[in-house]
Amino acid sequence: MMRIFVSKDMASVALGADSLAEAFASAGCEVVRTGSRGLFAIEPLAEVETDEGRIAYGPVGPNDVSAVLDGSHPARIGRIEDHPFFSGQQRFTFARCGVTDPLSLSDYAAHGGWKGLETALGLSPQAVVDAVKASGLRGRGGAGFPTGIKWQTVLDAAADEKFIICNADEGDSGTFADRMLIEGDPFCLIEGMAIASHAVGASHGYIYIRSEYPSAIAAMREAIARSATKIAPFTLEVRVGAGTYVCGEETALLESIEGKRGEVRAKPPLPAVEGLFGRPTVINNVLSLAAVPFILAEGAQAYAEVGFGRSRGTMPVQIAGNVKNGGLYEIGFGVTLGELVNQIGGGTASGRPVRAVQVGGPLGAYFPPSMFHLPFDYEAFAEAGGLIGHAGITVFDDTVDMAHMARFAMEFCAVESCGKCTPCRIGSTRGTELIDRIVAKAPRAAGTLETLPQMRNARTAARSHEEEIDLLRDLCDTMKHGSLCALGGFTPYPVLSALDHFPEDFGSGHALTEAAE
């Protein structure tokens, strides 16, 4: 019987993978459902097992089954590993994704699974923490905080109970790596969490998955059930979000697991000291935890050898938006933004010129092509007035209206604000109104209060366009410095970068980058 591999990743399913898999099954094939390989332009994808390895065809649909099976189909790709989108990748974390049956324990073990956990269990907790420190791994959820140092704090904290939490809230637009890993290789995350539990002495763990990811929730629950004995006495539990972005913030997430409103807590105390139910808690992103099995199995050095500056190891970059070759591309830090967008991404899907890319989700900056030389590195992006965040890149063509995108950033902040602090809760609403006035070229005139005769010192003249822009910058400054968390604090990144690099969309003069040349 022919063996055919078809992804059941949510994206593949959205593109028609289920009916493709059914068609192969009806044709008498044994169909193995895998995760996604990560390049959506070639999906739905079918891989046929042959003596020369797995031969891929894509995109293909149910009507192509016989031509795929007799090898005559024109969409023949050959071995996926040789395809240019894949041959340049360094798949440390996503090595198994798209290759194995995600819920097969024997597949997992046959492809190097559990090696990291076995190594870790042979080491003292301190030695495991030291290995993670030596790897240079930094948090992949956005802030880039060294994972080993976070674990050290939890290891050092004395408590009757400690927790490991995996943050799988993945709310950033342009990102899907957490979802792909959970659907495509959930045991890898479980192994990473089990290693963390040994390293810090935790007994129970939670995986907080957003409700928008039903397939990931189902895959994770099943994977936990199947691997329970493997990770015992450590236990795991899935918690499901309920439609908020802010619950991805670590302390809001703690509140949410505790059964409360997802309002951000003031820090200190750090969650590593006083986290879930007041106990020391490791909270890490999916990709941080899923990088750990490789580090323990292959050695910290193997991970740290790859990278750029203080950004060590690989990053599963997600190329999204209006882009030809959108998908997941895991590579060592240091690749440039331009390589990711133009060479690897192939430019826009619409065929029009790229005008802007947003890096790092809704709180990340917009960059024009004149900044495509930037290397993918935490420090380089921070210096350039942005962030890499969870490494999502959203590509826009030249039809984008950047004032509209700046307004959207403010609106998103207003929609998602937890309401705890004023600069974010009120500032985002005022910011949305302000950008509306700027775009409408209708600066604010004096209101009923200012024109009262007894308001002797109030200004009665309308604002000028420039004054409205100054006020927007001022508001961003207040939000940046006065907000409790990065939702209010980083919303100024997309707003100010749009204003700095694309002032013509706000009815102003030339771009800063052009003026500087």
């Binding site: 709310g171 637009s173 499901v240 409103r261």
Partner: protein
């Protein structure tokens, strides 16, 4: 079984399971079984979990997923976030809303369909995207809108 009895039996299950921080899983479960969280559930939950009604209400109202009214027969959650916008999401939103005769964020008066915003489905390279009931739909264009409309009107 009356609705109240049904809610009470779900609550009893949770109280016996001894799960810590049980409120969100409990609310999800009630909504899963009944389609929404009836206002009558609030005092029952408060009593069982030994918290105030205000706390229960505060949590229900904080999280957009929780409904306090029965949902429309079909729910379309259309992504409004940046990557889908970069692929023409705003035009698709306008067209879908016009085609179905319902504004974004609302349910149609006949209760047949609701159009709800969602901020990213994690399908960001193949947008514009939506969840039509429980099914993900990608690369939505005018033809796809016709198919979606056909499906939810049936």
């Amino acid at each position: 079984m009356t609705q109240t009895a049904q809610i009470q039996s779900i609550i009893d299950r949770f109280v016996h399971s001894d799960q810590r921080g049980a409120l969100l899983p409990l609310l999800h479960e009630i909504q899963e079984e009944l389609g929404f969280i009836a206002p009558g559930a609030v005092p029952l939950i408060a009593d069982a979990l030994l918290i105030s009604r205000a706390e229960v209400h505060g949590v229900i109202s904080f999280y957009p997923d929780f409904r306090t009214e029965p949902p429309a027969r079909h729910v379309i959650k259309l992504c409004r976030a940046e990557s889908c916008q970069a692929r023409g999401g705003a035009a698709i939103e306008a067209e879908l809303s016009h085609h179905l005769g319902v504004a974004m964020g609302h349910a149609r008066k006949d209760g047949q369909v609701a159009l709800e915003p969602v901020y990213c489905l994690g399908l960001c390279a193949i947008g514009p995207n939506a969840m039509v009931d429980d099914r993900p739909v990608a690369r939505i264009d005018s033809a796809a809108i016709g198919r979606i409309a056909g499906e939810v009107e049936a």
